[in-house]
Structures are given as C-alpha cells and as structure tokens.
Chain length 424, copies 4
C-alpha cells in the first residue's frame, strides 16, 4: 500500500514535471509566434499546448471522472488531431487560422486539466487502476512527443521568416571535443530478438518481442558528419540520378533540393539555421535535416547502405541511454560524445537515424483497443523507421526499442544518417 | 503664405487622423489575431499596419529626406506589396508566417515613421512642394484602402475559426427604418462625360474625364436585399446553369456555392457571420458578400442586368456622399437610409455595387510615373469595377468617380448588387 | 418562288462546300493523329468532325424532322460541347480518351447527317422557313470556326511530338514581296457606330449596331513583324516587369515564357514550328502565337497601345475582305500583301489582332433564345476580343464586325498584334 | 556443342514466340485505340509495342553489334521508359501525344529489330555468350511484363469511354465449377528460406535466397470473392474509418471510392467492366481491381490480416504453377480451379495477391550493373509486394519467387486478396 501510494505520488510528480516542460519551452515565444503554421506538416505552438491537454481531458477525465465538465465542448473538434473514432476534427492544414482561444485561455485550459488530473490521481489514493496509470503514462509520452514537435516546428516556422528569429540565445559552445574518425564495427548476427519486453512503458508498435534472422554486418561507429555530407554534395550527388531511388530523384527535381534543409551556401561557406539563429556550419557535427531519400542516396554514393531497424536495435540494445537530449538545451546536434565505453558512439540523442526499414507492424502485434488503437497502427504504410532520439527528444522518452517514423521525403525532423555494410 | 501654412497644418492633422484610425481598428484585436492569413487573398492585420507605414517611409521619407535612416532595411522586402520596380518582395501568400516583427515593434515602426513624416511636413513650412503633398495624399488614400481591407480580412479570418469570434460587440440596433420597395428610375442618356476633373485628390485610374455615349436606361432605387436574394436561391438559382456565365457556373460547381459567403442555413432559418459575431439574417438589409458571378446571375434571373460603370457614375454624380460608412461603426450594411432627396437611395456606403464593366483604362489616360504607376494600371485585366463604397469604407475616401475592382469570383469584399434595365 | 427555290439550292451547295472542307482538312491526317489532345484547350481532330455534325443533328434534324432517328443516342453526351440546357456532356479535358467511335464511324455519321440535312432542305422546296435557314447558316459558321480550330489544334498537337510531323508539305514560297515599313495612319473619331446591321449572317454578339464615342487616333499600317518582336525580346522584354500587366507577369514567370509559342532559338538563329514543319523564322512575317499579355507588353514597351475593338472596326469597316485566308493553303502568315488601296494593310487574314477590349455584350443586345443563347453570351467574362481573321480562317467567315475572343493567356491561336496610338 | 546450338535455336524460338504474342494482343485494336493514355499510370498500346522493341535494340543490338545502325535515333528519347543513366526521355505522362510514329511504322520497327536479334543469335552459332543469353532473356521477361500491362492499360482506357468498347468477344463461359468455401490452412513456420536459387531466369530483386524467421500461421485456401467483398461494402466498410490505414482513408475520401475499380451498381445489381465488355458481376469470382488499402481494410474488417511475402512464398513454393493465365484467353478471373492437389487453391493466376510487405531489397542483394540496375532496385520505396500472377500474366513468366510491386493506391492492375491469420 505504501508502495502504491508512492506510485501515485511519483506519477503525479512525473506528470507535473513533463507538463511544465511544455510551458517552459513555449515561454520563450511571443504570442504572435504561437499561431504560425508555415507548412501543413507543422502545427502552431499553441495548438501543441492545447492538443496535449485535450488528450488528458478526453482520454482520462471524460472517461474516468463521471462528473467532469469539459472546459469547452468545442475543443473536442478543435484539438482532436486524427482520432476518427472520436469524431470529426478541425483540418490539420488549417490549424494556423485558430487565433482563438488565445494563449492566455490555453494556459488556463492547461491549468484546469492539470488540476483535474492531479485531483483524480489523488482521489485514487493507493488504489490507482492499472488502466488509468497506463493512460497517464501514454499521455505523458504523447506530450513528450509533442514537445519535440514544438521545437521542430518552431524551427521550421522561424526559418521561413527572412528576419531569422532566434528561439533562444546560444549557450556557451559545447563544441570542444574533437570528433573521432568513423570506423566500422563488426556485429554478429544470427537468430536474434527485437522488440520490447519487460516492465515499464512501451508503445504498442514496439511489441511483441520477436525473432528475426540477421546476417552478420558492420555498423558505423559514428553518424555521418556535415563534412562527409559536403563531399557528397561537391561530388555532384544532387545532380546524379544513379544514387537515388526513383521517388527520391523525383523529389530532388521537384523540390530543387541541393543540400539539407536549413543550409545556405554563401561566398563565405556554408551556414545553417538553428534554434539559436543562423550560424556557420560546423563540419564535425552530425549532418541533420536530411530526408530518407538523401540518407539512402548518400549511403549508395558511399558504397554502403542504411541499417535495418533490426540491425540498429540489435547493435544498440545494450548501450546506455546517454547523449545530447533536450535536457542539454543545446537544441542542436553537437560534436561532444558521451563517455560510454561502447565502440558505437552517439547511439542516442543528437539526430534520429533513418533505417532502411519501412514502418510495419511486428508479427503477432496487437494495437491498443478503442480510439488509442489509432495512435500508431494506422500509419503503418509509406513511412520509414527512425531510431535513437535527437537533441530535441527527452532523455526519459527514449528506449532501445523506440520506433519513430516519417515519410521518406520529410526533412524538418532532426534526422541524420548512420551507415551499415554487409560483411563480405 | 498663411494659406499655405494652413495647408501643411491641415495635411498634418489629416495625416494624424487617418493614421490613428488604423490603430483604433487594430486595438480590438489580440496579438494572436494579428498574424492570421486564412486564405491567400487576405493579409494579416499586422501586415496591413506595417505595409501602409512602409508606403510612407519608402515613397516619401526615403525619397525626400536625404538623411533619413530606414527603421529596418529588411522591411523593404517584407512590406513591399507588389511594386516590382522597387525590388523583390515577400510572397503574398506567405505573409501569415511573419510572426516577427512583433506587434509591439510594428507600433514602434508606425511611431517612427509618423514622426518622420510630421517633421518633414513641418520643415517645409509654407513651401510644401506639390509632389510631396500629392504623395502624402496618396499615402493616406492608400491607408484608407487598407483600413477597409483590415476589417474585410479580419472578418474572413474570424469566420474560419469555429469559435466565431466577435471583432466588436454589436452596438444598439440601427435597423429601425422600414425599407422602401425598390422602384426603377428612368435616367436620360446621350453623350455624357464621366471621370474625375477639378481639384482635390483622385487616382490616375479615374482620369481623364471623357465622353461616353449612353442610351437612356433605368436604375433600381435600392440595392438588392437579402430577402430578394433568397427568392433566387429558393427558386433554384444555384442549380440552374442558364442564369450563369460559363466561368461563373464553373465556380459554383467547383466551390460548391449555395448562397453568399458567410451565410449558414439552419432549421431555424438563415444566419450570417458579421464583425459582431453570427446573427440572424435580416431580410431587408442589402445583400452582401456576393461575387460578380452571383450578381450577374441574379440579374439575369431577375430579367434585368447590372449597370455599366458609366451608367452608375452618370446617375450618381450629383447625389451627396452620405450613408453607412466605417464612421458609423456598424461594420455591416443596414436598412436605415440617409435623408437624401434623390429618388436613388444608398448610392454610397453599405455595399460596393458590382458593375458590368471590366476594369480598363480610360481613353488617353496616363498612369503615374515611376513605381507608383504600378498602383492601379497593372491590374487592368480580368477584373470588374465596383462603385460606391461600403460600410467599411471611410466616407472621406469615396468620390462619384471612384473605381474599385476585383476579380469576378471574389466574395470576401462587402460587395452587393444594384440592378439596371434597358429602356424599351 | 423561283428565287426561293434558288435559295434552297444555294444553301445546299453552301452546305456541301463547307462540310466537305472539314473532310479535306482531316484527310491529311493518319487515324492515330485523329485522337490526340495534347492540352485541355485543344480537341482531337475526330472530335471536331463529330461535334460539328452533332450540331446539325441536334439543333436541326431532331428539332425539325419529327421522324428523325438519332444515329447513336450516346452522341448527345459525347459530342455536346458545352450546352448545359441540353444535358450533361463528356468532360472537355477528356475528349482524348474517346478512341471510339472510330474515324470510319465518324465519317459514316457525317454522311448520315449530311443526307438528313440535304433531304430536309429538299423537302422544304421553295418554302424554307426562316428559322431553318438561320439554323443551317449558324451550323455552317460553327463548322467554319471548328475548321480553324482543327488546324490550330493539329498544330499544337504536332508541336508536342519530338518528331515534329508536317501536317502538309510546304507549297512554293509565297514570300516574294518586300514588306513595307509600318507607318501610323490618322483616323478621325467622333460619335461613330459599330456592330452589325443589314442583311446576311451575323452572330448575336455582333448586334445591335450602336453608338460609341471615339477620340481621334492613329493606327499602324501593318501588323507587328517577327523582326520587331525580336527587338522586344532582345532588349529584355521578358525579364522586365514594368512592361507587363500583373497577371501577364505572373504568366511569364509561371510558364517561363521567353518568346512566342512555337519559337525555338538555336545557335543558328530562330526557328518556328508551322503546319509545314519547323522552319527558319522569317523576320518580315507578322508575329503570331502571342498571348494578349505579350501583345499588351509589346505595345507598352513600344510606347504605343493596342486599339480598342471599336477603333479597330471603325478603321477597317470599309476595307475589302481580302488577304491570306485558309483558302490560300499557306496555313501560316505571309509577307505578301493584298492589293487593297487602303493605307491600312493586312486588315483581314494572316493573324487575329488582339484588341484592348474585354469581351462584353453590346448595349441592348439580345442573345439568341434557347440553347443557342449559350453559343456566345455565356463567355462574356475574362476574355479579350480579337479581330480580322487569320490564315486558317475561311474568307467567307469573316466580317468587319466579327468578334473573336480568348482568355488573355492563350497563345495557340494564330494571334498577332497591330498597334495604335493616341493623337496628341 | 550440339547442345549449345540447340540452346540458340530454343532461344530464337522463344524469342519469336514471346514477341509475336504482343502483336497478337494488339491486333484486336483499331489504330485509334493504339494511342490512348487515359491516365498517367497507363501507357498507350503503341508505346508498349515500341518500348519493348527499343529495349532489345538499345541493350543488345547497340551494345553487341558494332555495325548496327539504329532504326531511328530519336527513338532513344521517345521509347526509353525511365533509364536515367542512358539519357533523357519523353515524359511518361505525355506518351499519349505521340501519334507518330504510326502503328505501321512501329510494326516495321519491330520487324527490323526482330531481324537484327535473330541474325545476331544466328551469328553466334554455338558460342552464344552468357551475357547475351541473359540479356535476351531479360528482354523477353520485360516484354511479357509489358504484355500484361498492355491488356491492363487497354482495359482502363476502354473503361473511360462511355461507349464501353469490348477488347475481345467473350468466349464460352468457363464458369462451370462450383466455388469451394474458403478454409484456413495451418502452415508451419520456423527458420525458413525464401528467394530464388538454382538455374533458370530470375530478376535481381528475387535474389539471394536468404533465411527468414516465420511464426507458424494460417493461410486462406482461396482468394476473397466478389460476394465476400460485397459483404464488406454492405456493412459500411467504405464509410467506417476504423478499418483503414490513415493514407487509405484519405484515398477513400479523396477518390470517393465506394467499391472496386470498374464496378457499377444499378437497380438491377452489380456490374463490372471487363475486357469483354460490361457484364453482371459473378459473386463467386475472386475480387479484382482493389488497392492495397482496400485489401488491408477488408482484412482488418474480417478480423484477419494479409500474409507477408515470406509467408506467401513459403506456403506456395511447392505448388505447381497452373491456373488461369493469359494463355486461357479469359482475360478475367474465373471460378474454375486447377486440379492441383494442394489444399491451397488458385495460388497462381487469376489475381495478383497483395501482401503486407513493403517492397525492399533482400539482405545482401546486388542489383544488376549498369543501366539495367535501374530495372528494379530504384523502385524499392513506397510500394507493396504482390505475388502469384494473374489472368493477364504469361504462365511461363511466373515463379514462386516472383515479386510484383505497386503503390498502395493503385487499382488498375488485376489485383486481389488472400487472407492470413496468426496461429493463436
Ligand atoms: Fe498528438
Ligand atoms: Fe497597399
Ligand atoms: Fe462548337
Ligand atoms: Fe519497360
């Protein structure tokens, strides 16, 4: 009992800690910034703040507290993202027209729902039902995902403004370490297992743990750097169709890609836009903001390939989860390495690593029941898996089995490249 | 001399009065509202405030004050609307991404430019050059046009938010008069003259005054009302191609038009969205927010036609400019009539009246020289002329010769219908 | 009576003569060519042949011969172009999918309808009703319009094939005359009349004859030549927004226009694609295949302007209708002039001349009743008037009052430029 | 040696036999049909005939016969499909504008290349190099793929013509067998192998044979029938988002899908368009012309799932390749079953079966070198694998390891559904 009580308290503390990070991240914005949606893929900051709150209201307060009165019944329409089984929702590409509710009102909404959740938890005392605990946990994981998107989307929005605003002032440079040269590590294959098992939170798309046959392979010790990527650019990579998938080449021509998103070439060399404003490109940092198509073309140009997600997970499973996460407040990939003893460096944090694996369900997997079954499963088509978290991911959010996924042409995520190779 | 000095003082007062109205109109908004652009045709309120200021800075301070230091050199790019000869500019459809400069900074920009202009005028003392006076006058007319757009665009933006925000609370109802029935007034034609002549300000597109032959004709005493327009709807007007121009019918099908913009049919009857929120449709008010296509189709269905702009001007030239303008703060067409003795009512204010005339240059017209030649002339294709001003136009802005113009499918302006007929 | 009988005979002969030209023009094609639709604006040759036939079947045989059995009831759907009041029709942009009916069947259809019409005319004997005569006349005028389109569309279709097929072999060169230099002719204005009156056929859009005030003006003696147009290109005309209407400049940038349609620049000079294959551009020929936007920009760059349609008609009304028409079988504008004594040359034939007049209805005009009222009237918006016919127009089809009309961005018509100027 | 000589003869016979089928299939068309491209995904019949010929000319005659003179040098541009490393090519979506070369010329081209290939083979005599043999084999496999597309595309083209032409007259009905009810067969999993090994032709995408872990599973004995699919429709399958992938649901709404492609509901029941014209839907035939999204939604609605391609291949590997192929000349899925003793029926022929596997490269796979490396590998993104061949596939073209692939929204292929299930 005392232990259960402790569990509720720990959950409440966890709740307050995760929720308050959203507000901290948003506090650096002006109200005018809160409503920008510079392309359909991004959401306005205010919308993230309200939608994550609605998630707790709709899936917990409304379901578990019979006397709960919704803050505003129209919010079910405004802040439902894509749960078809819950009802119709405001079109995703039009979130930028919602100047109301104002930021002030959204903060009030957050406060209202926070009070509701904390008081609900308190009421359970030492008998918190497992499904409620699970729902709160999902809600917090969900909020962490949106915290990452909040930063990712602000970066994109700001990059479209010729004034190139800074989200935050740069901290003292963390770029003091020398980058080691990338080497290739031999990994033994065989009939291995991947996927989540054990206690603690995981999403339905990480389960069940299952067998996979892997031929032995080699994995790069480091993610690809800006300097390495520039060699690809300068050797004509963006003009030579032979490196590219057919859809990738079509994207290169249609979008006129010549370099990663946010880069700009001047007479004076390469610059990149960051959350601390535009800055000179550091050649030793991991390359970031490339699409799957670019990652794949770079790999082919290099005579290498991308790892499958099974290869990635099998190699990384035992490496401690350390690195450059959102907690570092760098908001940008760095050179500095964590002091893990593994020969594989930067497995976690810095940049999401594209794998060669399309996002599909695991054998015998079971999506969640009800509307939350829509959380992950319905996106299992036309997307590629990324692994490892980035500099805008919460450290506590990442697991070796964590699967992120985006369409192959997306570049506004903090996405990078780690190469693999067959063992000949 | 004393008179000239007086002229400068009057101009300064006029300047202050017009400029401050923009700020008054914007003061009812929250900062989040200031940056919304719900479709490419509208501009965010903040952009209007900055662009009109830039107009004074760019065309007067930079040209006439050699020591003037621009507030921010990037504003030439951000707040140029479409003057190609001045340089490149931020794409019109992307104005909604400019969360910075903030509203606070824009107000500071306005203050800075206001001080510049007023001090320039003061420096001229009693020798203000004619071209400077003309430029200030153009700048103020320009600001008045954007004040109208500010309200028009806010209305559109707010209408896209399911919360249907009110721009301002409704004042006491002005709807006390009974609407008279529309009659048709015979107007004598012949070889008449239209176009501006004399003193006072006019745009280049209103000049020169020139001869036009008009057959005698009839003009409706009143604009078409909501009630009359509902008869068109209920008789199947939107389903019968025979009333419509080919392009109009294509628009009806593509846009799924079934009624004017902002209308909504409920079991309880018709409602319309206004700057004071959604309200029950008043059948006796002038119909508003129709496209040229709808105006034209309604006229054909009625067995009538729209007047040409020459017919309109010839009939209205001697009617005093009174009516429901922005100064009334109704921000909506009303029933009440001004007490003019003319048998033609509501010639000015309430709603812009579509004419059957494409917007073209007058015989022997000369556009302004330099970049301001782009103000009007380059739009003389694929647009239709509207006349008479509306409930969101400044009274001092309107003249009998004033030509407004929009594409035939635009509906977000306060645009309505007055019918005409051949004399058989 | 004898005279009436003669009228029927003449009408029958006229019918046979016009109808057989369509077949002659199509006889130079292979069956594979008959079904191409290289852009939505053009129609496949076979469709023109069938649609013009359907016009006679639907508006005459079905209406006037109660015992007429339609050749194929589905043809009302397949070959109705745009008559909404007649029923639904196959989408214009999908005419290119109709491989059936085959060419063989379409020729059979033509034969079937020809027999029907000629036998109907014969049955009337000397009492042919006026409306039938009028309908046959409209049908033939309609067929002549489509004969022009047939050639215009074949040219466009062939130009999209890298093999650049010849529609017909070039005849002996007609280009022996020297081109005279263009001069400007003074034309007296005043209260003039334009529009059709008298006997003979005219379209509803040419009526009624009506008064127009014209200031006196100057009109160029010749259409603009390729050589003159090249000066515009070489002086940077396509890179300088100041010459262009706003919509025109948008078209230049979007469509990447750098020269008229069908031109190609090689190291060896300019070439143009014609119905006799690609050939070296003759600098003294009238420029052809320019949009209204290009015509208007060229005029502004020249310090001149385009004439209004009233100016055009007033100046050309008394000039004999001679020139380079489809009967010449050149299918291309030529240098050679007709030997008219008028100082204004090439008023008719060679190239359609863009005017500055939007296409609108004449004062007090009455469209035809019934479905044929859709023939012209419903297109009176967003189009510009062209005058004078071209090298692919039938000579018998043209009148001084004839109004052709196209959207301002269309270039696949044989459209050129004649300049005008104010009399200062 | 005698054996080698025999090999050349056999190859020549095989060449003649495959090539002549294309001409036989095209012989049922009129020349007007040969040039239709009713949507960007399909190619005109004539283009297929020319492109397959170009493939032999370009990859064999030009490479292996130094004295070969190309039939027409422009054909490299016109009939290259997508080989970027060979040079630029005519845009895919514009193949329908190529009325020339005429069908007559294309047949002449085929004859010319056939003579070239056969004479080349003859010249080798008993020393045919392995790579030439391989290239001829690829060319023939390629031609078989295009024969299937030829039929598939004709069907689509004809379906867009309201006259609904028949490609061929229906033969005597083959629909005499009673359809057995579908049952589920248990298949043992384990560490199995899939992929091609051994002698005979295979594409690079089928290699190498490699290990895959499979949990044991159940596979349906029969493909899903029209009758079963109608239950899905009638239970509201197309209106209920819960069955659909997110991208699939978006496609349903955008394309307004309500049933498989080619179906039409009348008061009298369901009809479907076939290569023998429109006919009443037979409820016992395998459902055909569904997208992956529909196959996946149907499976979810059924409480089942689609098999992976490894599950499919593992289960089918030992079943003889018999069934309803193009040789049957039914050109439509049938009820009749082949007399295989396997409990799994209709493994091959009738309909391609969508699997749940995205199309990716096999572990350690090596694409072909040179331009032919583009044949398969560059499409390995955003496509799903289909297995088993269809009623328009050549029987000799199919192998258990054969991988077909299309985007998840494509429906014009002869694609159907076989369900699978986890073993609980
Ligand atoms: Fe979410
Ligand atoms: Fe402006
Ligand atoms: Fe027609
Ligand atoms: Fe091919």
């Amino acid at each position: 009992m005392a232990i259960e009580h402790l569990a509720v308290e720990r959950l409440s503390e966890h709740y307050k800690s995760v929720r308050s990070l959203s507000e901290k991240l948003a506090s650096r914005l002006q109200n005018e910034d809160s409503i920008i949606q510079a392309m359909p893929d991004v959401s306005p900051p205010k919308w993230h703040l309200a939608h994550t709150t609605w998630f707790f209201e709709r899936f917990i307060l409304k379901e578990k507290n019979p006397s709960y009165v919704p803050y505003n019944p129209q919010f079910d329409y405004l802040f439902n993202s894509y749960y078809e089984t819950i009802g119709s929702y405001h079109p995703r590409h039009s979130r930028g027209v919602l100047s109301r509710p104002s930021m002030e009102e959204v903060y009030d909404y957050r406060k209202h729902v926070n009070e509701g959740i904390l008081s609900l938890l308190k009421d359970y005392g030492d008998h918190i039902p497992e499904d409620v605990e699970e729902l709160v946990e999902i809600g917090l994981q969900h909020e962490q995902q949106h915290q990452e998107l909040l930063l990712t989307d602000i970066k994109y929005n700001f990059s479209c403004n010729p004034l190139l605003p800074e989200y935050v002032e740069a901290t003292l440079s963390l770029q003091t370490d020398l980058r080691s040269l990338s080497t290739y590590i031999n990994i033994d294959g065989g009939l291995v297992e991947i996927g989540f098992t054990g206690t603690g939170f995981s999403f339905d798309n990480e389960r069940p743990r299952h067998k996979v046959w892997l031929d032995s392979y080699k994995l790069a010790s480091h993610p690809v750097t800006n300097g390495e990527y520039i060699s690809f650019i300068e050797s004509g990579g963006y003009e030579q169709p032979e490196h590219w998938l057919s859809d990738g080449w079509a994207a290169v021509k249609k979008e006129k890609w010549k370099h990663p998103l946010y880069w700009r070439k001047t007479e004076d060399g390469w610059y990149t836009f960051t959350l601390t404003g535009e800055k000179r490109l550091n050649l030793d940092e991991p390359v970031c903001h490339v699409s799957f198509y670019e990652a794949d073309a770079f790999a082919r140009w290099s005579g290498k390939r991308l790892p499958t997600e099974a290869e990635w997970e099998h190699a990384m499973a035992s490496i401690p989860i350390e690195g450059n996460f959102v907690e570092s407040e760098a908001y940008h990939p760095v050179i500095r390495e964590s002091h893990t003893r593994s020969p594989i460096k930067k497995a976690y944090g810095d940049v999401w690593e594209w794998t060669s694996s399309p996002y599909t369900s695991y054998p015998q997997s079971k999506p969640l029941e009800g509307a939350l079954g829509e959380y992950n499963a319905k996106f299992m088509c036309n997307q590629m898996v990324l692994r490892g978290g980035s500099c805008v991911t919460s450290q506590s959010h990442i697991r070796p089995t964590y699967r992120n996924f985006f369409q192959a042409d997306k570049r506004w995520q903090f996405s990078g490249i780690r190469l693999a190779e067959d063992l000949s």
